[in-house]
């Protein structure tokens, strides 16, 4: 049995929090650059230019990419051959709290959603999802999700006889209704199947998949959704043009004979996440 020390886990989480908040992943910068180069209209082109400059300024001057330093979502895949020397949640929350303070990241978490919306001041608790897998390592992903785009999340329970055209319509309608609010160009994560909660979690995980879906029919569906969303004319920050969605990723799961849940995670242009393996 391999043991991972508290310090090792703490340092890993702290580093991921910094990386995610100040350094846009290469493939996200790449996606913004491709859209900038192909954009013809002045206002959306200027907007994409500003977003690219934002990424450079954030990295070089150490200013957070967005003032909304998000909810901290942590995905952990813990191997059965490994033990963590300490309380997992406590270590992660301590790393998040200290890093948010020392790097001047905005705390945005309130302690009670309804009756006491007092800011905890530490951006904790983080929202932690653990999965037990084989092996003797721990894979950690820190995903920073802003509140404005999270507010545009959507789930619909389709009847099992629904076809992909109905699902595409629902997705395009949701993106259209959200309009400029979630800060497009969006990175769109879609969870299809499972139960309602599984679909929503898969929508979160889907947006972190760099590669298109491995199955051809889903890959085609991703492409069609991208195309259709980009025909809406919303454009970067709602300023027009044909770059409303930068990327579409689907994560599917088996489901009940009576159900077909479809969950949407609309991520803003600032897709902030980092992963490591211990």
């Amino acid at each position: 049995m391999r043991t991972i020390s508290q310090e090792e886990l703490y340092t890993a989480v702290a580093n991921l929090v910094v990386q995610a908040n100040f350094h846009l992943p290469d493939h996200v910068v790449q996606a913004l650059s491709v859209m900038y180069n192909s954009e013809q209209k002045p206002l959306p082109k200027e907007t994409l230019h500003i977003l690219l400059q934002n990424a450079t300024i954030a990295a070089t001057r150490h200013i957070p990419l967005c003032q909304d330093c998000g909810s901290v979502i942590v995905f952990l895949q813990i191997g059965t051959g490994v033990t963590i020397d300490g309380n997992l949640e406590e270590i992660i929350n301590r790393a998040v709290a200290n890093t948010y303070r020392s790097h001047y990241l905005r705390p945005s978490i309130v302690k009670d959603p309804l009756f006491d919306r007092t800011n905890t001041g530490t951006n904790t608790p983080a929202f932690i999802h653990t999965e037990i897998v084989g092996g003797n390592s721990v894979a950690i992903t820190v995903y920073i999700k802003g509140g404005g785009s999270e507010n545009m999340s959507s789930i619909k329970m389709f009847t099992p006889t629904a076809d992909s055209e109905e699902i595409i319509d629902y997705i395009v309608t949701t993106v259209k209704q959200a309009g400029p609010n979630p800060c497009p160009p969006l990175f769109l994560g879609i969870g299809i199947g499972g139960t309602a909660d599984v679909a929503m979690l898969n929508a979160k995980k889907a947006v972190l998949q760099k590669e298109p879906h491995p199955k051809e029919e889903y890959r085609k569906l991703e492409e069609v959704i991208l195309q259709r969303c980009n025909n809406t004319g919303i454009g970067p920050l709602g300023f027009g043009g044909n770059h409303t969605v930068a990327m579409v990723r689907i994560k599917d799961a088996p489901t009940h004979i009576a159900t077909l849940p479809v969950a949407l995670n609309l991520n803003c242009h600032s897709l902030r996440y980092r992963s490591t393996i211990l």
């Binding site: 206002l43 907007t47 934002n54 990419l65 800011n119 920050l237 709602g238 803003c268």
Partner: protein
């Protein structure tokens, strides 16, 4: 793109020149306020208590900045989503605010109010918070410090960029 330079206080004449889709660049004083500050102001008014700021002809920026690192006046400071402040916009207009800056779309009611009050709603660049930090030369908390990032900041800005979404004539870039 052609940019319209504006200096605060912004006059009625300045506002009348603006059309939906214009790129503007603001220099001078603007105030931040987001969800909690709006709720608090509405409460103070309902209780007939005095307000900490005079909003006459003010520019209001829907924003909750990240903390200022050493050597900087403020941290990251992009706009927050405006529709959450729709319910309070009538109050803020009646207090004298003449320009709102945020991101995203407004309700039909707010659009009508903007025309009635001859006020303007602009969107800045959502998620360009490090970029917009470069336009802030000074920042002071002037009310509700206990709200943390949701306090009201008085910002001195230099060439702060925004796009006119709703003009004084009912023009709407998002329509």
């Amino acid at each position: 793109m052609k940019t319209i330079d504006l200096h605060t206080p912004i006059s009625e004449y300045d506002l009348q020149l603006l059309k939906a889709g214009d790129l503007i660049s603001i220099s001078g004083t603007i105030y931040t306020a987001r969800d909690k500050a709006h709720k608090k102001i509405a409460e103070l008014i309902a209780q007939q208590k005095s307000l900490p700021i005079d909003f006459t002809n003010a520019v209001l920026y829907y924003a909750g900045p990240s903390p200022a690192p050493p050597g900087m006046p403020i941290g990251a400071i992009g706009p927050t989503t405006s529709y959450r402040m729709d319910a309070y916009t009538d109050i803020m207009l009646s207090l004298g605010v003449r320009m709102f800056i945020g991101k995203g779309s407004r309700s039909n009611e707010v659009k009508k109010l903007l025309v009635n009050y001859k006020a303007v709603y602009c969107s800045s660049f959502g998620g360009a918070a490090a970029y917009l930090n470069q336009c802030v030369v000074d920042a002071q908390i002037i009310a509700f410090e206990e709200f943390g990032p949701e306090a009201i900041y008085k910002l001195t800005v230099e060439k702060f960029p925004a796009i006119v979404i709703n003009d004084t004539y009912g023009g709407d870039l998002y329509a």
